[in-house]
């Protein structure tokens, strides 16, 4: 059956949410993170959490890494009226500083986020999100020599991306 324009528009809005979620993690922008979810949303990552609990978990976990990048590929979206199912493939790379467990290294997690989304008052947001961890790996960083002469990303609102808003 042919997709309708309304479905394509809803799918676009739903894909955007995952892009904002990834940006929110990588910039540690917890206001943006909150905006991806309905207030009564639940998450199942390492146990079930409500939205406040989930954001608190992010606040605790993200500073353990020097940098994170959440890069999303596949996005399966199925819209049915005001509800939708989505599955997003994301490679999340977490840079770990040198410590007593080893030299600087990247902890790579290949995860899927599976969502139930709801459109309330014209606003698509996540109502329930489940994290599925498919595989992980630790890659050495190696010596990359001098940093390239471009500005590096920051994990707060001093990141260059904010100045263009």
């Amino acid at each position: 059956m042919k997709k309708t324009l309304d479905e394509v528009l809803a799918e676009a809005a739903i894909r955007d949410i995952q892009m904002r979620y990834c940006r929110a993690c990588d910039r540690m922008d917890f206001e943006l993170l909150r905006s991806c979810f309905h207030p009564d949303a639940t998450t199942e990552y390492f146990g079930t959490a409500d939205l406040d609990g989930f954001i608190e978990m992010g606040r605790q976990a993200l500073p353990n890494f020097v940098k994170t990048t959440h890069n999303t590929g596949n996005q399966n979206v199925e819209v049915n009226g005001d509800t939708a199912w989505a599955e997003h493939y994301t490679v999340a790379t977490h840079r770990l500083a040198a410590d007593d467990k080893g030299p600087e290294r990247d902890f790579i997690t290949s995860v899927r986020y599976v969502d139930r989304l709801e459109c309330r008052d014209g606003d698509w947001r996540i109502a329930k999100r489940v994290l599925i961890l498919d595989w992980t790996r630790v890659d050495p960083v190696g010596d990359i020599g001098d940093e390239p002469a471009v500005q590096t990303g920051r994990r707060d609102k001093s990141d260059a991306s904010y100045s263009l808003l």
């Binding site: 324009l5 498919d134 595989w135």
Partner: protein
């Protein structure tokens, strides 16, 4: 020339087919895999296969790995009426268990899927698909990595993503 709304809607449907194809591999969902192709489609790997032949090959190949992950970036679609050309860039990671041949490792393939898609009976599906391997590599999986625990994911219909799907 400016894209029309109909073009954008068709392109979205065509991109979806390949994303479902990836999911079908990774969840070993043969019904979903079959739904990506017209019944008379031809799939060309090293040789031309029918849809049945391709699914049978996939069953054998996928069972060689402990995990597969087909993750797609670029998707370029060019429409021409009721047919379309599409090219999808996919990095597929195949985890290989430790064996006599070596320790646990990832076989990583950067490939392109090039399609002729056709609109028939109200659906865009693949009529002809070629798989092109641009580069491949085997990456070590160091032992003793800090796992984050089990996730409940699985390569069949017990994967949690199925229970959350909506009935239409």
């Amino acid at each position: 020339m400016q894209k029309s709304i109909d073009d954008v809607v068709a392109e979205a449907a065509i991109k979806d087919v390949h994303i479902r194809y990836c999911r079908a591999n990774d969840r070993r969902d043969e019904e979903l895999m079959r739904s990506c192709f017209h019944a008379d489609a031809v799939v060309e790997l090293h040789e031309e296969l029918s849809v049945d032949g391709f699914i049978e090959l996939g069953r054998a190949v996928l069972s060689m790995y402990t995990q597969t992950w087909h993750n797609t970036g670029n998707q370029l679609v060019e429409l021409e009426g009721d047919a379309a050309w599409a090219e999808h860039y996919t990095i597929s990671t195949h985890r290989i268990a430790a064996s006599a041949d070596g320790p646990e490792r990832d076989f990583v393939v950067s490939g392109r899927y090039v399609d002729r898609m056709e609109w028939r009976d109200g659906e865009w599906k693949i009529a002809r698909r070629k798989m092109i391997v641009d580069l491949s590599r085997t990456d070590p999986v160091p032992p003793g990595e800090p796992g984050m625990g089990g996730s409940g994911g699985s390569r069949d219909r017990s994967d949690p993503s199925y229970a959350m799907r909506l009935s239409k």
